[in-house]
Symmetry: C2
Subunit: 114 residues, 2 copies
């Protein structure tokens, strides 16, 4: 249960972040269902801490997933169903993407209601 | 000149990433101009390496800016005009935001045209 929908409820740093920046192709076939499935599947993986995602009207998206360790990130990348989704993404759904793996050192938040 | 509009053309890691995740308030007054100005101003700061940003139709946005050092990030946070924008953001434009400062350890890319 998140107090702030769309925001990841991560623990105190340090932890790891995977920044996935992507430009969608015009091909929609199967994309939404697989993207949703990957979000749900990621959430069940060991070391998963949360996920945030936004895509603008021009098709540029940024998804940041948070993990407890580099090993957890490597295991998720190697997950068979995720591998299949990655292959389909390269074949059909993405024109370009970048993946950046980083170690979160510091984090803070602001809430207007406080 | 970026080959991929919307993507930051960063050097080989290590470098630093600031992940700014935000939920906009219903208040638009002055937001677009200041947001655009901050993107332009950030790009002139020492140690700035690039910026990627996406906001969905529900008002959830992720902006990731890339920097050569923690000192460069601290200097940008302390920049007077940026401080004023941050204050206006807290007073008017954002319901909630998080800032995560991380060290990029590894990065790779995919391009469908290659």
């Amino acid at each position: 249960m998140h107090r702030h929908p769309g925001f990841a409820d991560t623990p105190e740093p340090p932890y790891y972040a995977v920044v996935f920046t992507s430009r969608r192709s015009p091909v929609d076939e199967g994309y939404a269902a697989v993207a949703q499935r990957m979000v749900e599947l990621a959430a069940t993986q060991p070391g998963f801490l949360g996920l945030e995602s936004a895509r603008d009207e021009q098709g540029l998206g940024i998804t940041v997933s948070y993990w407890s360790s580099l090993e957890a990130i490597a295991a998720w990348k190697a997950h068979l169903e995720h591998q299949e989704a990655q292959a389909a993404g390269r074949q059909r759904w993405y024109e370009h993407y970048t993946v950046r793996i980083s170690r979160v050192e510091r984090a803070y938040a602001f809430d207007a209601r406080r």
